[in-house]
């Protein structure tokens, strides 16, 4: 069975291994460097423990664990406030009409405006999963478990959420959008800039980008085609997020041109459909599979479990599953349909 729980320092080597297995670019919010990763896990633990020093800029990292082997097979993160106290950069896709009455012409000109508008929204990030699990129930569990966490500790999060989905990258690893735009200002390839982005901060790199709007027409054809499109390997994520209620179109990533999705937190399917139930132990449970989240902060656990509805807002659950979710009879559970 699969369970999602907060990342621990013991997960470090599993996460690094996972990152190296993924041949495609790993989301830059998961550092590849062990030291940085250890810091990130520590920060996550402090955030979940309610440390006052990180209040307002909580950043959580969860892991997907195979309970049979104990091995970490995926990661998923939440930044309570996008930008973490710094400006959060995106390009806003906009249009200008260049028109003249005298010359009887009118032309729509697509423009990318640098924007900080998404700063301080809640950001879903650091999604990484073993390739063989992409598109499976475990994948859905990993991604949606974050929303159950948000539903459980709603006050920690903003009223709207954003997700940056990885943009188009060719087989050879080049990123057309970067090559047509960012590269000119850095004189370095995407991989190098991306590793700096992981080591320093994305904001740090973004601040070196030109501050003025960019005319889409002046970008290469490949870059224009990539604008707002997810990486092939991120398409499943993209579709899952769309089903969840996220919308794309208004913003794109400033580095790879990938889509930035937005949603009202309280309108997301998982959050809207989640119900608070009380756990009741049962030897044998015959029912449907649900996404179930238990516990708060460091004790948060989320899994796909078979539940059966009982009376008085209760659900029946086996003791084995209770153990996996670290809960017991009488505990509150947040349940959402798969």
């Amino acid at each position: 069975m699969w369970v999602v729980r907060p990342a621990q320092q013991e997960d470090l080597s599993d996460i690094v291994e996972l990152a190296s297995v993924l041949s495609a670019r790993v989301s830059s919010t998961v550092p590849k460097d062990k030291g940085k990763l250890a810091e990130k896990i520590d920060y996550s633990k402090r955030s979940l423990a309610g440390d006052q020093d990180v209040k307002g800029t909580e950043r959580m990292l969860f892991v997907l664990v195979n309970t049979a082997t104990g091995k970490v097979q995926g990661t998923a993160g939440i930044d309570a406030r996008a930008g973490n106290g710094q400006p959060f950069y995106n390009y806003r896709q906009d249009a200008l009409i260049h028109a003249s009455h005298e010359l009887k012409v009118s032309r729509r000109v697509e423009v990318l405006y640098p924007s900080h508008a998404l700063t301080d929204r809640t950001l879903l990030c650091s999604l990484m999963i073993a390739p063989e699990l992409r598109g499976t129930d475990a994948f859905e569990l990993l991604s949606r478990s974050r929303l159950l966490f948000v539903a459980r500790q709603r006050a920690m999060f903003a009223n709207s959420m954003v997700v940056e989905v990885q943009g188009v990258q060719t087989e050879s690893g080049s990123v057309p959008f970067w090559d047509s735009l960012g590269r000119h200002f850095f004189n370095m390839d995407f991989a190098t800039a991306d590793s700096y982005s992981g080591m320093l901060s994305k904001t740090f790199i973004a601040e070196l980008m030109p501050p003025n709007p960019i005319y889409v027409d002046l970008l290469s054809e490949a870059a224009q085609a990539a604008l707002g499109q997810p990486h092939d390997l991120a398409r499943k994520t993209f579709e899952l997020l769309e089903r969840e209620g996220f919308q794309s179109g208004a913003y794109v990533d400033i580095f790879d041109g990938g889509p930035v999705l937005e949603a009202r937190t309280d309108m997301l399917k998982t959050i809207v459909s989640s119900l608070r139930k009380t756990v009741r132990s049962e030897e044998d449970v015959d029912g449907d599979s649900y996404l179930a989240g238990a516990g708060e902060g460091l004790h948060f656990r989320c899994g796909l479990v078979t539940l059966d509805e009982g009376l008085d807002e209760t659900v029946k659950m086996t003791r084995a599953n209770q153990k996996l979710l670290a809960c017991a009879q009488g505990d509150e559970l947040l349940v959402a349909p798969l």
């Binding site: 000109v109 000119h184 200002f185 005319y215």
Partner: protein, 358 residues
């Protein structure tokens, strides 16, 4: 004899023929009788001071007094950008630097601006093929500097010229194709024509307003920014010899450079001096090489006349002017005329004359 004088209504036909011969390069003089007639009217009003000084537009004709024909013209626009907005791109540099990343990248950038507004422009130089010799082009162009200096209060201290940018034999401009065309679905030649007939600011308003980072443009477009058309290279050299320099502004359509100079620094102005006219009855052989001739201006705002004389006509206090030349210049003995060397380079007798008289 070849004489510079204000343009007249009767020059229309000659002008039309010249404009037709000039082809597409000469934006400000389209081969259109109605527009040319309008330009002549505007120039006439300017010379007669019937228009506001800032609206002045002065066109000078080069008349062949034997053929009684206008064989060339040149112009001055007193102040650009007042009636309609005058646009250029300024070629500037954007630096992206980070010590931590070891990054220091310079990005050439085009910024749309109206910096040339209220500045005097020299323009509309056109010389008939039959007269492209013996310093006629120099006379057409440089006679303007004497006018600009003598009547400085009508003009700005700084004077500029827009040089024609690069386009190929079919009239395709690499910069237009990479930039203007993407915002404005039109051939360069058409945009250029519309500019000439007074629609330039309409088109400019449809051009991109935000800075253009040059690395986003194709190499052939980048290569022509600030460069002149082969046919314009001699004109550029002539202005450079006068002290004009590229000022970082380029044309928003074809990327041709803007060159500018302060009028008091222009070589023709610096090397000129005034002399009293002494009508000479001796006949003078006027047909001497251009480097041995000086321009002679009658210093009249309304009836401006310039022609050339051999340098040896210059005396310590006077200049000997043959009667027929005096007639063409509309001067008599005792009038003050302004002299300036026609050709640059070499030791100018005028300079030695000036130092002797100083």
């Amino acid at each position: 004899m070849l004489v510079i004088r204000p343009i007249q209504d009767s020059d229309l036909e000659d002008l039309y023929v010249m404009a037709q011969g000039a082809g597409k390069g000469l934006t400000s003089l389209p081969a259109n009788r109605e527009l040319l007639a309008k330009k002549i009217r505007r120039a006439t009003e300017s010379f007669n001071q019937r228009s506001a000084p800032e609206a002045g537009m002065y066109l000078f004709a080069l008349e062949d007094t034997v053929l009684k024909k206008c064989v060339g013209i040149s112009g001055i626009e007193a102040r650009v950008g007042l009636e309609e907005v005058f646009y250029n791109y300024r070629l500037s540099t954007t630096v992206n630097a980070s010590r931590e990343l070891g990054v220091h990248v310079r990005t050439p950038t085009l910024n749309l601006n109206n910096d040339m507004t209220d500045t005097t422009e020299i323009c509309s130089l056109l010389l008939s093929d039959t007269h492209r010799k013996g310093g006629n082009g120099l006379l057409l162009s440089r006679s303007r500097f004497m006018y600009l200096d003598d009547f400085g209060r009508h003009f700005s201290e700084k004077v500029f010229a827009e040089m024609r940018g690069v386009s190929d034999a079919n009239g395709q401009s690499p910069l237009w194709d990479a930039l203007g065309r993407r915002f404005f679905d039109m051939e360069f030649s058409e945009a250029d024509y519309l500019s000439g007939v007074g629609n330039k600011s309409f088109i400019a308003e449809l051009m991109p307003k935000f800075p253009i980072y040059l690395p986003l443009l194709p190499a052939d477009a980048r290569a022509v920014i600030g460069c002149v058309h082969d046919n314009t290279a001699p004109a550029l050299r002539m202005l450079q010899a006068e002290g004009f320099n590229f000022n970082g502004q380029v044309d928003i359509f074809d990327g041709g450079p803007v060159v500018e100079a302060f009028i008091h620094n222009v070589r023709t102005v610096r090397e000129s001096l005034n002399r009293h006219v002494l009508i000479s009855r001796k006949s003078v052989d006027l047909d001497v090489p251009s480097e041995e001739r000086v321009m002679v201006s009658n210093r009249s705002f309304r009836d401006f006349r310039v022609t050339t004389l051999p340098m040896h006509c210059i005396n310590p206090d006077t200049v000997s002017v043959p009667a027929e030349v005096a007639e063409a210049l509309q001067v008599t003995s005792g009038d003050v005329v302004r002299l300036a060397p026609l050709k640059d380079g070499g030791h100018s007798p005028i300079q030695s004359m000036a130092s002797r008289s100083a």
